[in-house]
């Protein structure tokens, strides 16, 4: 829990303060592509864990939706970086996101049944909110390539949709 929050905080600090910092601190397009792709991979991995552990019909359906949508976004992202001849570049934000996600998965691995379902769905709400914020305040404004910006904008709508979907599933678990 502490690890997760520390890493999440690190990610939020990185994401949140960058627009106020000097232009040199803004992520570059190869970094943005890496962050966006990583954010998708993290959610697919979380969903795959849920597909293995959950028995709840709503949770399983939601997890399947996450795998399907995020894999579709990432196929588009890979096609785009190939077309633009951009090599996604690992960076501190991607690393913080990955580390936080690993901590979350380890925490969820210890839970079962309804406790797992609730923790997974609650984290999905929080995670999508966090990524929405990063996309809106940092990644989209920082992207210089128009096609990358457009894909990120579609990604934002997908993430916002998932956040609402996760909130709906959370309300059904209560």
């Amino acid at each position: 829990m502490l690890i997760r929050h520390t890493a999440a905080l690190a990610a939020m600090l990185l994401l949140g303060t960058a627009p106020l910092a000097q232009a040199a601190d803004k992520p570059t397009d190869p970094q943005i592509a890496h962050i966006a792709y990583t954010a998708g991979v993290i959610d697919v991995e979380a969903a795959k864990q849920a597909l293995k552990k959950s028995k709840n019909k709503e949770v399983l359906a939601f997890a399947k939706d996450m795998v399907r949508d995020h894999e579709a976004v990432n196929v588009q992202a890979l096609d785009l970086v190939k077309k633009l001849k951009v090599t996604p570049e690992d960076n501190d934000t991607s690393k913080a996101l990955t580390k936080a996600a690993a901590g979350e998965r380890a925490k969820l691995a210890k839970l079962k049944g309804a406790a797992f379902d609730k923790a997974y769905v609650d984290n999905e709400v929080a995670y999508h909110k966090q990524v929405d914020g990063a996309l809106e305040t940092l990644l989209i404004p920082s992207a210089s390539n128009a096609e990358l910006k457009s894909l990120l904008e579609t990604g934002l709508k997908i993430f916002q949709g998932h956040e609402q979907h996760a909130e709906h599933v959370a309300s059904m678990l209560k």
Partner: protein, 103 residues
């Protein structure tokens, strides 16, 4: 004097022409937006959703009908009842549409 047969044809044409023809109304889905978001239709009309996204969507009415719209595919629904309905995508509830169905 008009031959009886001609009158009959004229009458038949009138009867056939009288009811308003059912239409197919297209709603495009592009980048998670239903467009147009609001459509006006009549009972018997068909709504055809054309999904240009790589994502699966639905057109869902709470407590009512649901149409699954696979990625890069189209799906249709013939409107059976009059009234106004709000619909949304169950996978992405931020996608919203409205259909006003006249009798």
């Amino acid at each position: 004097m008009v031959p009886k047969r001609h009158l009959w044809i004229a009458l038949a044409l009138t009867v056939i022409a009288a009811p308003v023809k059912a239409e197919t109304i297209q709603v495009t889905i592009d980048k998670l937006v239903f467009s147009p978001a609001t459509v006006e239709a009549k009972v018997g009309d068909t709504i055809e959703w054309v999904n240009k996204d790589m994502f699966a969507h639905t057109a869902t009415v709470n407590g009512g009908w649901e149409v699954m719209i696979p990625p890069k595919k189209s799906a249709s629904l013939t409107l059976k009842a009059a009234g106004a309905v709000d619909y949304f995508c169950r996978f992405h509830p931020n996608m919203k549409g409205h259909i006003a169905v006249a009798p």
